[in-house]
């Protein structure tokens, strides 16, 4: 009796906890409501099965508990019942899989009109790159990376020059515009995830990965790294600000392009070498090298 009651309590307790739990989805802020729907559907189908099985066990434990002189039934198999159960389970599984695959098809199909931008991950910070006026991101390679060129862009690629570089963990995105997140890591695996967007993908060094999402709610959201990337993994954070397109444009305007940052760097470098020259040649000669 006690055991049967405990089993019932486990089933009921689980359901009660499910409905009363204060821990639930963080309110969504993207187009991926369909992902939440698949999860909800799965909760319903599997929840019913779970409760049914545990209650059935409780019933058996109570009804068929040991009694002196009682004998268990001897029925090695029951083909009909077994096929029925197999059939029903198959139907349930198809009911889960079909919507799952349907939504996955949307997940892997990036809309034509999506605007691309790049997320760059490295231990343990985020940075971002937007295509400039030409709308195309320039090529990049780890071999190009230096203090002056932290993104590793190809300086000879004309497409790189107007790329907008954001060396900061905060990025802005326009509201209601599908965005294709191109993901690039320069060291180890990372994973770009904004829980309110529901969509994520790993960053893998040596390749560019992607996913897409349309932000549907204005606000400031946390970006978390979701793939273990070393001791600083839990500190690898960023923020995404979703705002009206005009505000987004204004923000983007203020960010430096690759060409600008290179010029700055070059000027900086010239300043440095001038300093060195001064040291080597002395004040007087240094004065004559100045144009």
């Amino acid at each position: 009796m006690f055991v049967a009651i405990m089993l019932v309590l486990v089933a009921v307790g689980t359901v009660v906890f499910h409905f009363l739990s204060p821990w639930w989805w963080t309110p969504i802020a993207s187009n991926w409501g369909s992902i939440d729907d698949t999860v909800t559907l799965t909760f319903w189908i599997t929840g019913v099965v779970f409760v049914a099985i545990v209650l059935f066990m409780a019933y058996c434990v109570f009804r068929y508990r040991y009694r002196e002189g009682r004998r268990a039934d001897y029925t090695p198999e029951n083909k009909k019942l077994e096929w029925w159960l197999t059939g029903l389970t198959t139907a349930g599984v198809v009911g889960l899989l079909a919507p799952g695959l349907f939504v996955w098809n949307q997940y892997v199909t990036v809309p034509e009109e999506a605007h691309e931008f790049e997320v760059v991950g490295q231990q343990w910070q985020w940075s971002y790159r937007f295509p400039g006026a030409d709308g195309v991101l320039g090529t990049s390679a780890p071999q190009n990376i230096s203090d002056d060129n932290p993104f590793g862009l190809n300086p000879d690629d004309p497409n790189s020059q107007d790329d907008i570089l954001i060396e900061d963990d905060e990025v802005h995105l326009p509201l209601h515009k599908p965005a294709k997140f191109l993901l690039r890591s320069i060291d180890v695996l990372h994973d770009f995830y904004v829980p309110q967007f529901r969509a994520k993908m790993d960053l893998v060094p040596g390749m560019v990965t992607f996913f897409w999402a349309t932000p549907t709610r204005a606000g400031t959201f946390d970006i978390l790294c979701f793939e273990l990337c070393g001791v600083g993994h839990h500190t690898m954070r960023g923020t995404v600000v979703v705002e009206e397109e005009s505000a987004y444009r204004a923000w983007l305007q203020e960010q430096p392009t690759f060409a600008q940052s290179m010029t700055e760097a070059r000027n900086g470098a010239e300043d440095d070498s001038r300093e060195n020259l001064k040291l080597v040649l002395g004040e007087a000669e240094a004065g004559s090298t100045a144009r």
Binding site: W24, I35, M57, Y74, T75, V103, W104, Y193, K200, G206
Partner: protein, 591 residues
């Protein structure tokens, strides 16, 4: 109907099995230390596995202390934390569960249950254990090298695993890889033994379709392990090369903290494929023996034949086969070709069907039974509850779309603990309560058993159930702390503290169990022969505990399946597998 397994009128022609030459130990050392007797090897494996498992348990406490009370235990640094979770995960999955199920239960039960005198290659079997022990020692040694053990996560994903941003990149990761390679070598020696013994050394009349499901589970799990471990072995060797010799199997061009490394062209995703080609079958390497053993516990203690035996056997075989084509469901967001998602989601959900059938058949075994609520039965019931719970969350994670927001969250942690941590361990406990009387001749203490059961079952459920909901909220796994995350309310910390307290209680309940194991060895109630009135051969030996060679002068002959419980017309509610049909006492009624 020639193959109907449960029909004992149909005596299968008895194949002759030659008597095997037994190795007879000449000294104490060869009898108990370098023993070639599978039963002694089984105990050695089990004791070692449980000992290292205790370390895994202590590590889980440290992890939980950090998560539950982040500010309080400031001797735990982030590096420590990542080392703890890595070693905890690896120890639990490989060095505890795999070793205990196959090396422990496999060695003890296979020869006894199929009616063999020992494993077919006893010497190799002995080596298997000693290599396993060395593997464990190498693993533990990683705490004593500069940099400590690896903190790469139990999945050991490169490039991170061998780069300096991860703790243990100096020596820990190499010792981990070496230890795994040793484990696999040792396991292969044992595994070949288990498979060949099941295939070649069954006694007369023990057809495959008369074998207890315990043996089916262990047998198929061993086949999986023999096929899956090589992938991990090769991956480990390749990663060792990348780390030591500068090869680039898994390493693309990388700039690490501003410095260009000397690697080029390798693929980190390639390692993930190799890891999970092993890693997914690994789940079933742990689960299938548990499936088999729990079937037998349910049947014996409900006094009823297992429902749908043939379906159960085929389900084990089909699950084993399918488990090799679902691995990339761990990689939906890994950056592999996203179209693979369609294939792997489909195969993964197909596996749910045979798995569900097993669950139905377990519950239908209870139906119309005569259920003794013994400790093994309680654990078996708890297994069904936790396994169903953990299994259904697998349908979320397997169904590609639903996995996207949930992957790498606490939902995953809750899922795999429920399904491959809690559920199989409950079977381990049930099995120990069930077979301890055979191994020692004494019963385990019932009161301590009740206490152990209720605290473990309800506690573990209370620990892992709420953690799913943290995952839903978006709480990441493998996070040292959750400071400054705007969507995480304070209540999460309260819940974490609660979970930690319960986990500690559950942990300490295991000490009661260990205590029970030790005292009952000498103080337990004498079990006598066959205390559970079971049908299988291990309970029909000449002496209890079974001596060297298992069976007396002659090997038993098997006349029927292992589930002849409550057969109408028979006097007793069980008929041992080796009782000749003409000697079965009848109840007097005409049958």
């Amino acid at each position: 109907m020639a193959y109907v397994t449960h029909d004992d009128a149909q005596s299968v022609p008895l194949a002759e099995v030659g008597e095997m030459e037994l190795y007879h130990a000449k000294s104490w050392v060869t009898k108990y230390v370098f023993s070639q007797d599978a039963k002694v090897i089984a105990i050695q494996y089990s004791v070692t596995a449980i000992a290292i498992g205790m370390l895994g348990l202590v590590l889980s406490w440290l992890i939980r202390l950090q998560l539950g009370f982040p500010e309080v235990f400031d001797f735990i640094t982030p590096a420590d934390y990542y080392q703890f979770i890595t070693m905890h995960g690896m120890i639990m999955v490989i060095y505890l569960l795999t070793a205990l199920f196959l090396g422990g239960f496999g060695n003890y039960l296979i020869p006894l249950m199929v009616g063999a005198r020992d494993m077919v290659f006893p010497y190799v079997n002995m080596l298997s254990y000693w290599i396993y022990l060395v593997a464990v020692l190498v693993l533990v040694a990683s705490w004593f090298v500069p940099g400590g053990p690896t903190g790469a996560g139990w999945t050991l994903y490169p490039p991170q695993a061998i780069l300096s941003g991860t703790p243990g990149a100096e020596g820990g990761i190499l010792l981990m890889l070496i230890s795994l390679a040793l484990f696999i070598i040792g396991f292969t020696m044992g595994g070949l033994n288990y498979v060949v013994t099941v295939l070649q050394a069954r006694t007369r009349g023990m057809t495959l379709m008369r074998m207890p499901l315990t043996i089916w589970g262990i047998f198929v799990a061993t086949c999986l392990a023999l096929l899956a471990f090589p992938a991990l072995f090769v991956g480990a060797v390749m990663m060792t090369f990348d780390s030591l010799l500068g090869s680039s199997f898994f390493m693309p061009a990388i700039v690490e903290f501003g410095e260009l490394l000397d690697y080029e062209g390798g693929s980190p995703v390639f390692f993930q494929h190799m890891f999970w080609f092993f890693g997914h079958p690994e789940v079933y390497i742990v689960a299938l023996p548990a499936f088999g053993m729990v079937s037998d516990l349910l049947s014996v203690h409900a006094r009823k034949n297992i429902f749908g035996y043939r379906m159960m056997v085929w389900a084990i075989v089909v699950i084993g086969g399918l488990s090799f084509i679902v691995w990339a469901h761990h990689m939906y967001v890994s950056g592999m070709n996203p179209y693979f998602g369609f294939f792997f989601a489909t195969t993964t959900l197909i596996i749910a069907v045979p798995t569900a059938i097993k669950v139905y058949n377990w519950t239908l075994t209870l139906w119309q039974g005569n259920i003794h609520l013994t400790i093994p039965m309680l654990f078996a019931l708890a297994f069904i509850v936790t396994f169903v719970n953990g299994g259904i969350t697998g349908l979320f994670l397997g169904n590609v779309t639903a996995d996207v927001p949930l992957s790498d969250t606490m939902f995953v942690v809750a899922h795999f603990h429920m399904v491959m941590g809690v559920a199989p361990l409950l079977v381990v406990f049930g099995a120990i309560y069930h077979w301890y009387p055979l191994m020692t001749g004494r019963m385990l203490d019932e009161t301590m058993g009740q206490f152990h059961f209720w605290v473990t079952f309800l506690g573990a459920y209370a620990v892992f159930l709420p953690i799913h909901y943290l995952g839903l909220l978006g709480v990441p796994r493998r996070y040292f702390e959750l400071t400054d995350i705007s969507f995480i309310p304070d209540s999460v910390q309260t819940l974490s503290a609660f979970v930690t307290v319960v986990a500690l209680i559950v942990g300490f309940a295991q000490l009661v169990f260990i205590y029970n194991l030790i005292v009952s060895r000498t103080k337990g109630e004498p079990a006598g022969r066959n205390p559970w009135r079971a049908t299988t051969l291990e309970w029909q030996t000449a002496e209890v505990p079974p001596g060297h060679g298992n069976f007396g002068e002659t090997l038993p002959v098997v006349y029927r399946w292992a589930y002849a419980f409550s057969v109408p017309g028979a006097r007793d509610d069980f008929i041992p597998q080796n009782l000749p049909p003409d000697q079965v006492p009848t109840d007097g009624s005409v049958s």
